[in-house]
Subunit: 614 residues, 2 copies
């Protein structure tokens, strides 16, 4: 247990950390000092007591314990901790929130000690799950993952997704630290200081819970020690704390969320802190030097082999591809939201059960966990119905600020899924994934291009979205046809093309059928397979724009943010008229072809549009 | 308690309902019979025992109990219930999942007895909360809201958001019926048949729980009776059931999710059912005929009054507007996600506390509840940071299939929020709201236009998104200036305009500053305030396209799906070149103006772009 000397030193460190929190936020003129002060003892006691093991010279090292501030607005505390550890100077802290500083308003990976960007609440625990899954099931390393949680954010459903899954996977290497300071942004939380209810809820989900006074260093140290005792459960420290602790005139007072102290208030507050010993250094223990479990030796994938005359759903080609390319990408893992028999992630699961994680119907946590895995060097492929990525769009959006390497694969795109109706139709998935900075959006039409593009996605370092189709589609390409991110294929082309029709997925086949009908009448059109929607192949589009009188885009997606607008953006300075066929009526149940006709995105509508333009 | 005759009749009805479930799905060739069969007794006992009160001739009547199938894939059961009640014929049922039928694959409001469209799991309870809040706090009617839940969907965090909030608001008029059939789509759920854990979890969140055998009609009837006993808690019936119940060869078997029986299998199954009495009619009790509590008498809003020389943040004008227009729209309610002091919904809350609901940091449930309120005739205005609507995009997406009347208001748009950094910046909000069918997207720049557009939003029946700005912006318009959905304002115009610059929000002011700089050099540009991004004012855009040589859009949003692409879509058949300035670098913390400059969406970049074009 804690000796008196350790407690004294931690108290000194806590005072120094409070000094940093107050001075840096007052200098910045904004920030969340009160939310930082409540968790000061909780975090100082973790980092500087020997519990936390971290090689400060190698923040990315495999054996380091991980620390995630899910309550990202407590960034002043986060940075102050690293200053107390000697990794930031007081001068560095005074750049907080200033343009160009690594010390952003909410932690981002611009700061090397941040495991991931946080600030949208209720996401840190999921990221921690990814890291804990990696430690326990993949790298097989003894590092632990600590997540600081706010009490307000416990209202987010994503927390309970994470809590249930952590228990399900017996993540005894995951420790949550819940800072129950009672006050949210605009008033009291639903549960206030009722630690008992937090304990009941969290323990009912299978966690070990330890309720403590979050300002008593001996209690905190004892709790961490207890958390590390052998068990197969994750542990939650539930700490009663005081928001603004240490500054009497803001302690436990409403109206002090997200508010820096004015200079004179800060001066008063610093007086209350008493002596600040700037010479005290927070020492962090080194972790053991262990090697992550090696994956299988790298191998060469089998060749792609689909009979040219047998239609295959691209979702199935996705599953095949994942299993096929694994030898080449031994860091690959697959996560699926309880629909692996629909997305065909099950093909990979059957081939490599140890690299597959069933994430159940909890898409938010699935995406957060994928980010955690990605931050630990894995290449997660995350699959569910295209429509259900809308459920996790905040996690997807946030992931972009952590330099992630995640592949999202959405099956059941568009009205072409048929009878299940609109709730299951991905009709805005292209829009959301295009709106992620530097994302790649791919939409293969046949099995061969799917296989090739899954491989390209695995090679690419960043966020990639792949849209797959429920129904079978004919093979278009030979197995040696090359595909690249940013490319496209011109499938029909002649000197006399009067228009270019651009499709992808089911609409590409509709365009090819339209081509055949029109050809019989002597009308020739160019057909482009726009399999890379972002980045888009501007060269081919510009050629088409200058060679043909008009461009028609056809997509099984709502008009906004989809293929039509991608093409319009690429050709915004070209004079060519662009016409877009897309889903514009409320979709219904029905047969796929009925729905394509109803939405006027089938061969018929393409033919009529071309006739109208002649 | 239940008499023997009642139980006998309910058994007969259950058999008839099973007959319908099997025949309609086999005829359709798809659907979820096994998930319907597990809940047959649960639902038949509710509807046809006198517990459920519903006027079948007036399905929208205020006093009706509400029934929501959160497990929307059990639609065959849902339709079969209404057939057993005499509201659908057997012939009607055979149109299930066919194009044009009201009986879609997952329930939609095309079917008049569906309270809302469901099918994306984990959303029905939130919708039910909206209806229960309405009953208890607004209409003050004794109707009850019943929600049928699947066990797989309990993995969704949104369920726990709903569960916590229902207890917080003491919704003793809300009854959940949890169909624990153990099997999800691809295998067992995390908890299988462990009813005890479900009870612990749900009761720890403040609900009354009743565990039962979900195929024992007497137990079910007793549980409903107990649920209705006076208490201030919502109640969850937790029912152990068998997936596929009644058909021996699919009962409790994996691999039978979402699969219709083939004709010969169906014949075998029907034999097992034994005698089906098609003459038995399920009688539903009528509700009392009570009047909803009247709101205040309709009044006339005060006049808009802002000093012309005093900048006001549009988010504050939003709060002012809501409070101002309430007399004109007494069905208006406000929901906020624990940020009412940032969105300024607090101004309305202070004026009309009974019409404001604090929804805490649980955006998914907030949106679902708004849909429930909307379906009961209220006009919910839902506010949070623009960025955090991404958290609820699945609920927003799904709401469009329920003919909703909901207004979403997102504050803290774009990089112009400054120091808080990217996690808090709404940079894809326009993209997501544009991608909703028939949505309206408004982006006022000053306080006056905000007031006017909030009023237009309240008048408009449908989904409206209003984007507001964190920082103060100068007043541009006189209080009598008219604004309409689909309009725009040309703020600077001359014969000699060499280009048109289109902005909204902060970028409009940047454009106006650019205008002043360029004017000094004798360069004239046209400036358009594109306050209505969807629908967009095509007439004004076309005029600008023909009058000026080029168009420049400037927006504090990512390029995809935003103002630039809205304009490009409107002018896709025009030859005018369109240049777009938008957020294209990973945003950081910093001062608003620093960030606008960094992202090249400020006056400087507008001026350079214009110079480049000369």
């Amino acid at each position: 247990m804690a000796d008196g000397k350790m407690v004294e030193k931690l108290k000194k460190l806590a005072t120094l950390i409070r000094y940093y929190i107050l001075t840096m936020t007052t200098e910045a003129g904004s920030g969340h000092p009160s939310s930082s002060l409540s968790a000061t003892e909780l975090m100082a006691s973790l980092l500087f007591s020997g519990i936390f093991r971290f090689d400060v010279d190698h923040p990315k090292a495999s054996n380091n314990d991980r620390l995630i501030f899910s309550k990202g607005h407590a960034s002043p505390l986060f940075y102050a901790l690293w200053a107390a550890a000697g990794e930031l100077t007081e001068k560095d802290l005074l750049t907080y929130r200033k343009f160009g500083s690594q010390l952003e308003g909410h932690p981002t990976v611009a700061f090397p000690f941040a495991e991931a960007a946080t600030g949208s609440l209720g996401q840190g625990l999921s990221i921690g799950i990814g890291m804990a899954l990696n430690a326990k099931y993949l790298d097989k390393l003894p590092y632990r993952t600590y997540v600081l949680l706010g009490d307000s954010e416990m209202a987010e459903g994503s927390q309970w997704e994470a809590i249930q899954l952590a228990a399900h996977y017996k993540l005894n290497n995951l420790i949550g630290v819940l800072d129950v300071n009672r006050l949210g942004q605009r008033g009291e939380t639903m549960l206030g200081w009722d630690l008992n209810v937090y304990e009941k809820r969290i323990s009912s989900f299978g966690w070990k819970t330890i309720a403590i006074d979050g300002h008593s260093i001996p209690e905190i140290l004892a709790a961490y020690a207890e958390a590390l005792l052998g068990t197969d459960q994750p542990t939650m420290l539930i700490a009663k704390t005081i928001k603004g602790k240490g500054v009497s005139f803001i302690e436990n007072k409403n109206g002090w969320h997200g508010k820096a102290l004015k200079q004179e208030e800060c001066d008063r507050a610093l007086k209350e802190l008493g002596d600040v010993d700037k010479s005290v250094l927070g020492e962090i223990s080194l972790p053991e030097d262990l090697k992550p479990k090696e994956g299988p030796p790298k191998g060469v994938p089998k060749k792609i082999d689909y009979p040219a005359d047998k239609p295959v759903p691209t979702r199935k080609a996705y599953g095949n591809a994942l299993a096929r390319i694994f030898p080449q990408f031994p860091h690959l893992v697959s996560l699926d939201g309880e629909v692996s028999n629909s997305t065909y992630a099950e093909i990979f699961k059957e081939a490599y059960p140890d690299r597959f994680f069933e994430m159940y119907i909890a898409e938010q946590n699935m995406v957060g966990a994928a980010l955690g895995l990605s931050r630990r060097g894995k290449i997660p492929f995350v699959s569910t119905f295209a429509a259900f990525f809308t459920r996790a769009f905040d996690q997807i959006r946030m992931s972009q600020y952590s330099d992630p390497n995640i592949k999202f694969v959405g099956s059941h795109a568009g009205v072409s899924i048929g009878e299940d109706g609109p709730s299951q139709m991905g009709l805005e998935d292209i829009a959301i994934f295009r709106a992620i900075l530097n994302s790649v959006v791919l939409y293969p039409s046949d099995a061969v291009s799917t296989e090739k593009l899954v491989e390209e996605a695995a090679k690419h370092d960043g966020i990639v979205y792949i849209r797959t189709t429920r129904s079978e589609t004919p093979i278009l390409y030979r197995p040696d046809e090359p595909f690249k991110i940013g490319g496209s294929k011109v499938l029909r082309k002649s000197e006399g093309d009067i228009a270019t029709v651009i499709g992808a997925g089911v609409t590409l086949y509709e365009a090819l059928e339209a081509y055949e009908s029109l050809k019989k009448e002597g009308i020739l059109i160019r057909i482009v397979d726009l399999y890379s929607i972002k980045p888009v192949d501007e060269t081919t589009l510009r050629e088409a724009a200058s060679a043909t009188k008009s461009i028609i885009t056809v997509e099984d997606h709502y008009p906004e943010g989809g293929i039509g607008e991608a093409v319009k953006s690429a050709l915004a300075t070209s004079a060519v008229p662009i016409y877009s066929l897309s889903v514009t009526k409320k979709p219904k149940s029905g047969k796929p072809q009925e729905l394509l006709d109803y939405e006027e995105i089938s061969r018929k509508s393409i033919v009529s549009k071309i006739r109208e333009l002649i």
